[in-house]
């Protein structure tokens, strides 16, 4: 591209040939008013408010700065009396149509218009077409268009019906200079669905994500719906966004593996008597956690579905834990997170909080103190497993409320407690695909689906497969401090294995007495590790002890008894059999 020289208001500028004047003026800080211009959309020059004076070879012209390409030697003046006079006229025409739009009135004041000569109209749309162009050129949804001609021209959707093609991206409302497009606020709906995932298509998965980089959600990104948009790519200065990226499968050679695949919360639908999914104000703890997060959908407030603050909240512990119908084990973390939610909800909504627990398990540093703190805060603790949650009111007090029916085992009678919101403290369970992962790494699972450690006390992060370690909730329910400690242990074990630089072989490998081997080769195909090779010259089978894992399958198969296994020779086992049968 050629470089050219021009002057803007007397300032000499160097620019690429055919760059729009507006861009150059913007760069050197000369302000030119615009209405129909947006950097993401191709310049259109329809509102004419950006007109400037261009002096070129004895000719003076008025041009629109947004789409006029700069050429060598031109002189641009942006604020001459002629420019001002023309802009004033344009503004007066605009006001005759849209007399009460703030941005137009602000510009009018700037250009000294107090009472427009042609009156003030009541419309709000200046027909700049920015919304139409964004919808078709950027988003690619092609919903908006111009209809009719002349004075009856307007922007709308086909047949003025709500369009199915609209993806509710709200881009049109965001680019509209006069603010005449409004989006029906469906906060009610949003709150109703309580999105637990990201709120925008581009997000950083978690606050602690590694690598700490944003990702694009393929399902909600506009580009993957309409093939348009790519606004993110155009504003990203380092050009880091590539919408064409495909999933890749990479093979990585590693020395050891730590399996930390975590848990999944128990599905609250499995405990139907608590009404999750039936009553709108029955939430899982994770949903409330999402709400009380300051960056969540309700800005940190625990709200009911109708948007109001609850006056009484019941927290039901052990949902999907300590229950023969779901999981018999204790999920360990629910007591403490329930107390935390009780504290936060009480603090933010001033609601009366009832905790329904079987046993309060606050074992941990500072946990019991926190429990005591909540007792002092005035939280109610009712010991007993909740029988059911219903909206069946017996007394006028229960009208329109959720009623928790529970046997108070300390008081010794059945109580009915009306509340506005129910929080289910769902337990932890092994991930759905734990069995697949287990098979992949050849490790074992306990009957609950948690990965089994080699030894609960002596090898708590090792597995039965060398070089594979486990950490976190994949091994069993545990809280964050425990998980971090276990992860550290697993990392140290993995490092120790790598750092040693050599691998210790099992002591109980097999060996073959070559002198006596008949060369029948029965053992050769039996070895799953290909440790046995047939030596064609010597006509005997030979065993590579470095490859042998010591299962002894070949030993059991050898018809001439020349394959033997250290510590498990035929003679030793025979003797052992004799030994156990001596009575």
């Amino acid at each position: 591209m050629n470089t050219i020289n021009l002057t803007i208001n007397g300032i000499e500028v160097e620019a690429e040939d055919r760059t729009p004047l507006l861009a150059i003026a913007d760069r050197i800080g000369v302000k030119i008013p615009t209405l129909c211009h947006h950097p993401l959309v191709e310049a259109y020059g329809v509102c004419r408010i950006c007109i400037v004076e261009v002096h070129m070879r004895n000719r003076v012209r008025l041009v629109t700065a947004c789409n006029y390409p700069a050429t060598n030697g031109i002189e641009v003046l942006t604020d001459t009396p002629r420019v001002r006079r023309n802009r004033k006229m344009i503004l007066e025409w605009f006001l005759s149509r849209c007399g009460h739009v703030p941005i137009l009135n602000a510009l009018a004041a700037e250009y000294g218009i107090t009472e427009p000569r042609f009156g003030r109209g009541d419309d709000t749309c200046i027909l700049c077409g920015l919304c139409v162009r964004v919808c078709s050129d950027v988003v690619g949804a092609n919903v908006l268009g111009f209809f009719n001609r002349g004075t009856t021209r307007y922007v709308g959707t086909p047949y003025d019906e709500p369009s199915d093609a609209c993806i509710a991206c709200t881009a049109c409302a965001q680019v509209c200079p006069t603010g005449c497009i409004t989006i029906d606020d469906e906060a009610e709906l949003v709150r109703g669905e309580l999105p637990l995932g990201p709120m925008t298509p581009i997000y950083i998965p978690t606050m602690q994500a590694v690598p700490h980089q944003p990702v694009i959600d393929h399902d909600s990104c506009i580009h993957f719906k309409t093939d348009g948009c790519r606004v993110c790519a155009s504003v990203c200065e380092p050009k880091a966004i590539d919408h064409g990226q495909q999933d890749r499968h990479e093979e990585i050679q590693v020395g050891s593996i730590i399996v930390a695949t975590g848990f999944q919360p128990v599905d609250a639908n499995k405990v139907p008597q608590y009404g999750y999914g039936r009553y709108p104000n029955v939430f899982t703890a994770l949903q409330v956690e999402h709400m009380v997060n300051a960056s969540g959908p309700t800005n940190g407030q625990a709200l009911l579905k109708d948007g109001s603050k609850p006056k009484a909240v019941g927290i039901i512990h052990c949902v999907g834990s300590r229950d023969k119908n779901t999981h018999e084990y204790c999920s360990r973390v629910c007591c403490m997170y329930s107390l935390k939610l009780a504290h936060l909800v009480h603090e933010r909504s001033d609601a009366k909080i009832y905790n329904f627990y079987i046993d309060m398990r606050a074992a941990g540093k500072g946990y019991e103190e926190f429990y005591n703190h909540l007792l002092e805060e005035g939280c109610e603790f009712i010991r007993g497993r909740v029988a059911e949650v219903s909206d069946w009111a017996v007394t006028p007090l229960e009208q329109g409320k959720l009623v928790i029916r529970v046997e108070d085992t300390l008081a010794g009678f059945v109580r009915r407690i009306p509340v506005d919101m129910v929080i289910l403290s769902t337990g932890l369970e092994a991930r759905e695909d734990a069995a697949e992962v287990r098979r992949l790494f050849n490790i074992s699972c306990s009957s609950d689906g948690w990965f089994l450690e080699r030894h609960p006390k002596l090898a708590p992060v090792s597995t039965f497969t060398d070089g594979v370690f486990i950490a976190g909730c994949a091994q069993g329910p545990k809280d964050i401090p425990d998980t971090v400690a276990q992860a550290g242990a697993a990392a140290a074990e993995a490092m120790a294995l790598i750092d040693k630089g050599h691998v210790e072989l099992e002591a109980y490998t097999a060996w073959i007495d070559e002198e006596r081997c008949s060369g029948c080769q029965v053992c050769v195909p039996l070895c799953p590790f290909s440790a046995i090779q047939f030596n064609k010259d010597k006509k005997v089978s030979q065993l590579n002890e470095a490859l042998c894992k010591g299962c002894g399958t070949c030993v059991a198969a050898c018809p001439s008894l020349v394959a033997q296994q250290h510590h498990f020779t035929d003679a030793q086992i025979m003797a052992e059999i004799e030994g156990v049968l001596v009575s």
Partner: protein, 139 residues
């Protein structure tokens, strides 16, 4: 001839990774089971030579129990399949020799199934108690 006081003697061959660990688990979980089945630990059920079973019966055992990992779970990939193949063959020989079906048994018990070890040993002991002592096959 089965009497209430007859206590069968069972030799149990347990693989180190699954069934032996499971019996260990049964122990740590304080699951009591019949003491009639002393365990001979082998690294893999694939190490169990059919001769071991014959030897045990010859030495006066009333039953033999072989425990391995579930199919697909073998620590050595396929040792338990080898064990299964040998067991099928051995079973045919033993049946022809007149050894009752209950006396020799192959079970898949994973490391977490301590209760299954308890169940299998208790069940087998009870069966052999009714069956009575093993009458050795004489040539």
């Amino acid at each position: 001839m089965a009497t209430a006081t007859f206590e069968p003697r069972i030799v149990a061959f347990f693989c180190n990774w699954c069934t032996y660990t499971a019996s260990d688990l049964a122990g740590t979980a304080r699951m009591a089971y019949e003491p009639n089945a002393p365990v001979v630990r082998v690294m893999c059920s694939g190490r169990v030579d059919p001769q071991f079973v014959l030897k045990a019966l010859q030495e006066g055992a009333d039953g033999v129990l072989v425990g391995g990992c579930h199919p697909g779970d073998c620590h050595y990939q396929e040792g338990n399949y080898t064990a299964l193949r040998r067991f099928r063959l051995l079973k045919r020989v033993l049946t022809q020799l007149g050894v009752e079906d209950e006396r020799v048994r192959l079970e898949w018990i994973s490391a977490s199934e301590g209760d299954r070890v308890q169940h299998v040993v208790d069940e087998m002991t009870a069966q052999l108690r009714t069956l009575g002592p093993f009458q050795q096959v004489r040539s």
